[in-house]
C-alpha cells in the first residue's frame, strides 16, 4: 500500500512546467506519482514515474558507454557527437528520432551559410561585464579561441552567440526558479563576429554550477552555451563549453551523452595564462571545429558479436 504524500513543486523537470507530485514509499524504493497537468495534456491521469537518484543515472550512463565501447571494438569510428537516444537525460526520451539520419550530398544552399557582420553585432556585445551600470559579481575572465571547419579552414567573419548562468548559477530566464541570487549587473548573453582567422573573444564572469530536476540532487557542471555558424549551413552547431577539472563531469547526463572520452575532453576549455591579465581577469582558451552530422555507422554483415 502506498502512502501518498503530496507536495507542490514550483517547477518540473528543468523548470518548464508546474508539477504536482506525490511521493510514496514502497519496498522497492521511492515511487513518484506525477500529477502534472501540463498545457499539452489537459486532464491527463497521474503517471507513475520512479524518482531516480544519481546511482541510477550513473548506471544508465555506464551501460550506454559500454555499448559504445563494444561498437568501437567492432570497428566503428570514434563519434564526435552525443548519442541522441540517451535516456539518462530524461527530457530526451520522446524528443529524439528513432530512425537513422539519411545520408545526402549537400546542395549548394547547404554548402553556403548565412552572412552576418559588424552591422549585425556591435563590438561591445562581446563583453558581458559591461551591459549594466555596475560590475557583475564573480570571477572575471576572457574566453577566446578559434573556429575552424572540418578541413581546418578558419570560419571567418561568422556569428558566435553565447549565453550562461551568473556566478551564483542562476539564469536570467524567467523559468529558472533556482533560489540563488540574480545579479542586476549580469544578463549573461553575448555575441561576436569571428575575425579573418576565425578568432573569437568574449569577456565575462565564470558561471556557477546549477541544480536541475533531471533526477534527485542533479547539478550541471559550470558551462557556457555556444551557438556557431560554419562555412556551410551543414556545420551549424549549438554546444556547451566546460571548465577544467569539474568534479561534476562524471555525474552529468548531458556532458556524458557524448560517449567518446576524447570528444568529451574537447568540450573542456584550457586555462591559458597568456589570456589572463594582471590585476584584472583570468583566461581560458577553447577552439571549436565544425564538421556537420555524419552518417550512422552500421555494423558490417558477418561480424560476430
Amino acid at each position: 500500500m502506498l502512502a501518498i504524500r503530496g507536495r507542490r513543486r514550483r517547477r518540473g523537470a528543468e523548470g518548464e512546467h508546474s508539477t504536482r507530485v506525490g511521493v510514496g514509499r514502497t519496498a522497492g524504493g521511492t515511487t513518484q506519482w506525477d500529477w502534472s497537468v501540463d498545457r499539452t495534456h489537459p486532464g491527463r491521469q497521474a503517471v507513475r514515474v520512479t524518482e531516480l537518484n544519481q546511482a541510477d543515472i550513473s548506471a544508465e550512463i555506464a551501460a550506454k558507454h559500454a555499448e559504445y565501447d563494444a561498437a568501437r571494438e567492432k570497428g566503428m569510428p570514434p563519434l564526435d557527437s552525443p548519442l541522441i537516444d540517451f535516456a539518462p537525460y530524461r527530457s530526451s526520451v520522446l524528443r529524439h528520432p528513432t530512425k537513422n539520419p539519411k545520408l545526402v550530398d549537400p546542395e549548394t544552399i547547404e554548402l553556403a551559410s548565412p552572412t552576418f557582420g559588424h552591422r549585425d553585432v556591435a563590438a561591445v556585445e562581446s563583453d558581458l561585464t559591461i551591459q549594466h551600470a555596475g560590475e557583475p559579481l564573480g570571477e572575471r575572465m576572457v574566453v577566446a579561441g578559434r573556429v575552424l571547419d572540418g578541413e581546418g579552414r578558419p570560419v571567418a567573419h561568422q556569428l558566435v552567440e553565447v549565453w550562461q548562468a551568473n556566478s551564483a548559477g542562476r539564469y536570467i530566464h524567467q523559468r529558472d526558479q533556482h533560489p540563488a541570487p540574480l545579479d542586476p549587473n549580469f544578463t549573461g548573453a553575448g555575441r561576436c563576429i569571428t575575425d579573418a582567422q576565425g578568432n573569437y573573444r568574449f569577456t565575462t564572469i565564470k558561471p556557477g554550477a546549477y541544480p536541475w530536476k533531471n533526477h534527485v540532487n542533479a547539478w550541471r557542471p559550470a558551462h557556457i552555451h555556444f551557438s556557431l555558424f560554419g562555412n556551410a549551413f551543414t556545420q551549424r552547431l549549438v554546444t556547451q563549453m566546460y571548465f577544467p577539472g569539474d568534479p561534476l563531469f562524471p555525474l552529468d547526463p548531458i556532458y556524458q551523452s557524448i560517449p567518446d572520452r576524447a570528444a568529451r575532453d574537447r568540450l573542456v576549455a584550457a586555462y591559458d595564462h597568456e589570456l589572463s591579465s594582471p590585476e584584472w581577469s583570468l583566461g581560458y582558451r577553447w577552439d571549436i571545429v565544425l564538421t556537420g552530422p555524419k552518417a550512422t555507422w552500421i555494423e558490417p554483415e558477418g561480424s560476430d558479436a
Binding site: I109, D120, E151, T239, R266
Partner: protein, 171 residues
C-alpha cells in the same frame, strides 16, 4: 571525409531563449508584402504532443534561385538575407514570412530542450523534387514535403513516432 575531429554538439538546454533572441527573426520579408508566403507548422514529440520549447532556423535561396550573401542576417529586414530563426509558441507552433525560393527545398535546423544535438532537415516545396527525395519511400517523402495553403505552406516536424520527419546526415 573530415580531417579534423569535430566539436560535439550539446542540447540547447532549458534556458536558451534570451541567448538566441532575434527581433522579428521569423520575418525574412514583410508579412503580406508582394510575393510573401507564410511558412508555418507545429513541432511534435514522440507522443504526438506539441513541443513548447523548440527553436527552428531556416536558410534558403532567394526568389531568383541565388544564394543570399548580403550582411545583416540578424538585423536587416529590408533586404532578403535567406535566414530566419523562430522560437515556437507554447503550442509548438512556428511561423516564418518569406519568399518562395527558386529551389527544390528550404533548409531547416531544429533545436529543442531535451534534444541532445541539432537536427538538419529539408522542407521541399510542393511539386518540386530531386534525386534524394525520389530515393525515399512514400511515407518518408511525405514527412519532407510542405503542403500548400491559401497564404503559403504548412509543414509539421515530428521528432519521433510513426510519421517521424526524415533528418539528414551529410556525405
Amino acid at each position: 571525409m573530415s580531417s579534423t575531429a569535430g566539436t560535439a554538439g550539446q542540447t540547447v538546454g532549458p534556458f536558451f531563449r534570451y541567448g538566441l533572441e532575434i527581433e522579428n527573426g521569423g520575418l525574412l520579408v514583410e508579412p503580406h508584402s508582394p510575393g510573401a508566403i507564410r511558412l508555418h507548422g507545429t513541432v511534435y514529440d514522440g507522443a504526438g504532443d506539441p513541443i513548447p520549447d523548440a527553436l527552428l532556423e531556416i536558410w534558403q535561396n532567394a526568389a531568383d534561385g541565388s544564394i543570399p550573401t548580403a550582411e545583416g542576417s540578424l538585423t536587416d529586414r529590408d533586404g532578403f538575407t535567406g535566414f530566419g530563426r523562430v522560437h515556437v509558441t507554447d503550442d509548438g507552433a512556428y511561423e516564418f514570412w518569406t519568399l518562395l525560393p527558386d529551389a527544390d527545398f528550404i533548409s531547416v535546423v531544429v533545436f529543442a530542450r531535451g534534444l541532445m544535438d541539432r537536427l538538419h532537415s529539408r522542407i521541399y516545396l510542393p511539386g518540386r523534387s530531386d534525386a534524394f527525395l525520389e530515393s525515399l519511400d512514400a511515407d518518408e517523402r511525405a514527412t519532407l514535403v510542405a503542403v500548400a495553403t491559401a497564404d503559403g505552406l504548412r509543414h509539421d516536424i515530428r521528432l519521433q513516432g510513426e510519421r517521424e520527419t526524415v533528418f539528414l546526415a551529410f556525405g
